[in-house]
Amino acid sequence: MYPPDRRYSKDHEWVRVQGERGTIGITDYAQNQLGDVVFLELPEVGRKLQPGEVFGTVESVKAVSELFAPLAGEVLEVNSALVDKPEAINQDPHGAAWMLVVKITDASALQDLMDAPSYQAFVEREAKQ
């Protein structure tokens, strides 16, 4: 279910690291909790993010949720097509619905993120609560 090529935060973001580039999105669990997504706000290219910093918001019909940077980086690209078609977050959260590419400025926060099996166990615990 959760791709093994990336790491996951407790706030339900994923990050896929390729060299100094980190691609960020939200997980299938997060989109499922939100329900039908209708709005997405993302930061400007060039913005410098600290781990845990709010970088945007995602809104479904029933709820609004903030998006938290899983690691430190400078925004290189934003998925502007996704802003126009945010329902893709429900359809393909781990693929087409990537949100940002950042240039990783400090990878140390990666150690605090979970691998796929740990995240799977984490959301199973959360779903039971």
């Binding site: 329900g35 039908d36 019909v61 029933k62």
Partner: protein, 347 residues
Amino acid sequence: MVPFGGWDMPLEYSGLIAEHLAVRRAAGLFDVSHMGEFEVAGEGALSFLQRVTANNVARLVVGQAQYSALPLPNGAPVDDVIVYRRASDRYLLVVNAGNIDKDWSWLQSQAPEGCTLENRSQDYALLALQGPAAAEILQGSTGLDLPGIAYYHFAEGDVAGHPVILSRTGYTGEDGFEIFVAAERAEALWRRLIESGKDKGLVPAGLGARDTLRLEARMCLYGNDMDETTTLIEAGLGWIVSLEGAKGDFNGRAVLEAQKKNGPPRKLVGFEVVGRGIARHGYPISLGEAEVGAVTSGSFAPFLQKSIGLCYLPAASSAVGTDLQVDIRGRPVPARVVPTPFYKRGR
């Protein structure tokens, strides 16, 4: 599941937008058993109901229902209700789940004379089958003549072998039925209806879709769009306030009559968000620099594909076309007063 009015209710089944669109295009089935039911019976029932409700109960024939409210002396509702006339001296009052205890105490305090009040809320379950395919789906399970049941009328009989009160009413802006059934029969009836409707596009629908559907149809939600501080005239419910001769005096009449004649100081209006974002319940509303209120209900409207809401505005600034701002988490977003209902079904 979410808590609502003292009940745990499903927010969505297959997905809020899919359920909403199914009700607009085919049909949805809602479990709204949380609603409360009071029986009022006896020769004094009519005169008691005339005193405690806003609409003219004398207009009801047996088998007819009426949207109404229980006004306070200040003209604001204790609750909004539907009054069903089941026999010449026997009525059913359907009230909001969260208000059952409050309504019951209020009615007891209004000195019911010549009639008995009975709280049947635990006995009745209520299923709402809503959407353009509702009648076709239901007709397969009942001998009742559905075309003979007009809007806001009801019949008593069997659906799928279960004794029911079948009412052509709803909270979605679509054609449809509300089915009162004994609580212990509700699950069997639910399963039967889902089974007989699934080929016609019927889906189970949750509280989330119920809220977005009623908002598109500009139906008020008690506790959001009206409460004990908003008069029925301010809430745009002047059409359920009867000043006819047969109505006589009732709680709040003086205030409501004056506001109906002279206009209320503020009005509940519908708006569309012109910028991006959803105006949610409680977000501040401004006219120019002045904060004038807050969103009472607001959502993305799945059928209309717009962000819409309701709020109170000073009557002098409430005309269609008025520009306002919604404070969406610290960001002023433009919005505009629009005609309501936002959605009206074709007939």
